[in-house]
């Protein structure tokens, strides 16, 4: 074999290995999805998502857990969205380049890297014990809100950064103030991308378990909350308890599969929506 064909062979072999390994990654995802969906889809029924759990959580539905997760999503977004949005706008539109901005960015990255269980510890120390909220929707929502804050800040920042400066200059040249420019030009243009970030953080909130373990989640609570100081059941925690620590793990397997399917479907649908927004946006502004 001469050098050039040996070179070719090496290249082909390497590229095929890459192809196979990356197909493996897809394979992993599909085996996880396939396995859980195949076993759990049959469990899903109208009763399953609208009924209370029965018989030591081996029968019935997961209605309170769905509602609980919904409250946690709403609560955490109510808190994290305005703050994250303002923070992102400030960092990109107002803050001057320099040490302070770099420090703020590093801290945002740091916050994003803090393990979720540490958020749980913090939420318990500050919201549950410190502020005396007890195990409650408000304590859980605040903890989860802090967890997704960096995601919202970062997407706001990045979507604002993607907007060409000529738009800002045009608006300012027409006599608009900086605040008007942000409110009427930059923010509306960035909004679809920001919404994508919000959707992805909703996905994160609905699936996180560790931060809610000690701040809100109830093991078994077959009634709906009446105030923000109540405990709730939540989907991820429900899946955790019925697959590991229930008294009848085997009998509740079907319920576990069903809960896992609901969680996966939530994430799947949120991802699809986010992608659809991104795609239509890419067509509109020719970004991405």
């Amino acid at each position: 074999m001469d050098t050039s064909s040996r070179k070719r062979l090496a290249e082909n072999t390497a590229f095929w290995i890459f192809r196979i390994l990356s197909l493996g990654v897809i394979g992993i995802l599909f085996s996880i999805l396939g396995f859980i969906l195949s076993k759990g889809l049959s469990v899903i029924s109208w009763d399953f998502i609208t009924k209370m759990p029965e018989d030591g959580m081996t029968k019935g539905g997961i209605y309170p857990a769905i509602i609980g997760t919904f409250y946690l999503i709403a609560g955490s977004m109510l808190f994290a969205f305005p703050i994250g949005l303002m923070s992102g706008i400030y960092t990109n539109e107002y803050a001057r380049e320099g040490k302070i901005k770099r420090f703020i960015k590093l801290m945002t990255a740091n916050l994003a890297g803090i393990p979720s269980i540490v958020f749980g510890l913090f939420g318990m120390a500050l919201f549950v014990n410190g502020m005396g909220f007890g195990d409650s929707i408000i304590a859980g929502s605040l903890t989860l809100g802090l967890l997704v804050l960096p995601i919202i800040i970062r997407t706001t920042e990045e979507s604002l950064k993607a907007i060409d400066n000529s738009f800002r200059h045009a608006s300012l040249a027409l006599g608009a103030t900086k605040l008007q420019t942000i409110g009427r030009v930059t923010l509306p243009m960035a909004m679809p991308n920001i919404i994508t970030g919000i959707i992805l953080s909703i996905g994160r909130v609905s699936g996180e378990t560790a931060p809610i373990l000690f701040t809100v989640a109830a093991y078994f609570l077959p009634k709906l909350p009446t105030s923000i100081y109540d405990q709730v059941m939540a989907l991820p925690y429900h899946l955790y308890v019925i697959s590991t620590s229930g008294t009848n793990i085997q009998e509740s397997r079907a319920m576990a599969y069903g809960t896992a399917v609901v969680l996966i479907l939530i994430v799947l649908i949120l991802n699809l929506i986010a992608n659809a927004i991104r795609r239509s946006l890419g067509k509109k502004y020719k970004i991405n």
Partner: protein, 385 residues
């Protein structure tokens, strides 16, 4: 303006709260409540460590001479043994005679070691109080026994948990890095735009699946698989955890290293191709060396994710707090320990504080990792300018 400092403020608050609770663990006695330990006044031993206390009460140490004392065999007295030593009448209805009874018991038995609450200490007590080392940072980081609820003295050696965490995460990255890197190179250099558009949402989805779902999948698929393959009594092992963490770290590794590879200046690649190198040679000799700092950032970030992962690991690693000697043994990681034990730890007790101290360790590790990655990417920024 204020809103932009919210992340800084949060990080600061987290630091304050974690460390306030965590550090209050240290320089306090390992004895629960207001217990004291006393011995007979003739006993030459004045000082024992908390591990020795555990061994004594587990009856692994049965004679004082193994601690350097006399030949007497050790006689245990705790509050639970009350009825074997005294009758109800002797103690009195409200324990009013108990201090005196304990005093005389300690004086009669030369080999006794007694643990009881300070409030039952007789004012004219003639025995000797034993000094016990307070919990120290070095002890916490280096001792090998984790029995946070042991009676009468808790054992807080976090070493097995720290090693377990690092061990499981490291193996996970060793599994994930080759696969992740191959995929990243494929996506950045080999695949066409159409394939990339298929891969991107899939990797995003992989990143979006909740960790508890991964844990559930691990529990019913990976754990039995590991058990059967290696013929083990239980499948909940370090290896199961590592495999699962490897899958979970893949999206981070792929996205970060793909970005790094893609950032290689086109001119460098074209120069290499123009010199007659083919694409593979260009990748190996030009692209990868140029993006190596980004790739290492990807690996470090992946390790960071793995170290902090809680639920998935909690569900598949078996949670035995022992120093792992093989991949096929159960281990217990720091996050899993916090998640499993905090619910049962009484608020502001030693156990509760110890779990916060573990949280501090975890926080410090991830903080170091983040600052390290920031440093690497800053260096890379300067280099390509």
């Amino acid at each position: 303006m204020i809103s932009s400092t919210v992340t800084t403020l949060t990080v600061l608050l987290i630091t304050i709260f974690l460390f306030k609770e965590g550090t209050s663990l240290f320089s306090q006695s390992p004895l629960e409540g207001d217990n004291i330990i006393v011995v007979n006044s003739s006993n030459p031993i004045a000082h024992i460590s908390s591990i020795q206390i555990k061994d004594i009460f587990d009856q692994k140490i049965t004679h004082w001479d193994s601690l350097g004392g006399k030949k007497d065999s050790i006689i245990l007295f705790t509050f639970n043994d009350l009825s074997t030593y005294f009758s109800d009448d002797e103690i009195g209805a409200n324990f009013e005679f108990l201090p005196h009874k304990i005093d005389s018991l300690v004086n009669i038995e030369p080999g006794i070691i007694a643990v009881f609450s300070k409030k039952y200490l007789d004012p004219k007590f003639a025995g000797k109080k034993i000094k016990i080392d307070n919990i120290s940072v070095t002890q916490f980081l280096s001792e090998k026994e984790w029995f946070p609820t042991a009676n009468p003295a808790v054992q807080l050696g976090a070493l097995p948990l720290i090693l377990g965490t690092l061990w499981v995460s490291l193996i996970a990255i060793l599994i994930a890095l080759p696969i992740g890197l191959a995929t990243a190179i494929y996506l950045a250099e080999v695949a066409n735009a159409k394939m990339r558009n298929i891969y991107k949402p899939i990797i995003e989805l992989l990143a979006g699946i909740p960790s508890v779902v991964y844990g559930f999948f691990g529990l019913i698929v990976i754990v039995p698989m590991v058990q059967q393959t290696f013929n083990l009594p239980v499948g909940e092992t370090a290896l199961s955890g590592s495999i699962l963490l490897a899958i979970m770290a893949l999206p981070t590794i792929i996205t970060v290293s793909e970005d790094a590879i893609r950032n290689t200046p086109r001119s460098m690649k074209e120069a290499s191709l123009a010199l007659g190198a083919n694409r593979w040679q260009t990748i190996v000799r030009v692209t990868i060396p140029n993006s190596i700092s980004g790739i290492s950032a990807a690996a470090i970030l992946g390790i960071g994710r793995a170290i902090g992962e809680t639920m998935a690991v909690l569900m598949v690693t078996g949670n035995a707090a022992v120093i792992p000697h093989s991949l096929l043994q159960p281990v217990r990681t720091i996050p899993a320990t916090i998640a499993a034990e905090l619910g049962e730890a009484p608020k502001n007790g030693i156990h509760y504080k110890a779990l916060f101290a573990l949280g501090c360790i975890l926080f410090l590790i991830t903080m170091i990792i983040n600052i390290w990655v920031d440093y690497i990417s800053r260096k890379r920024g300067n280099y390509s300018k």
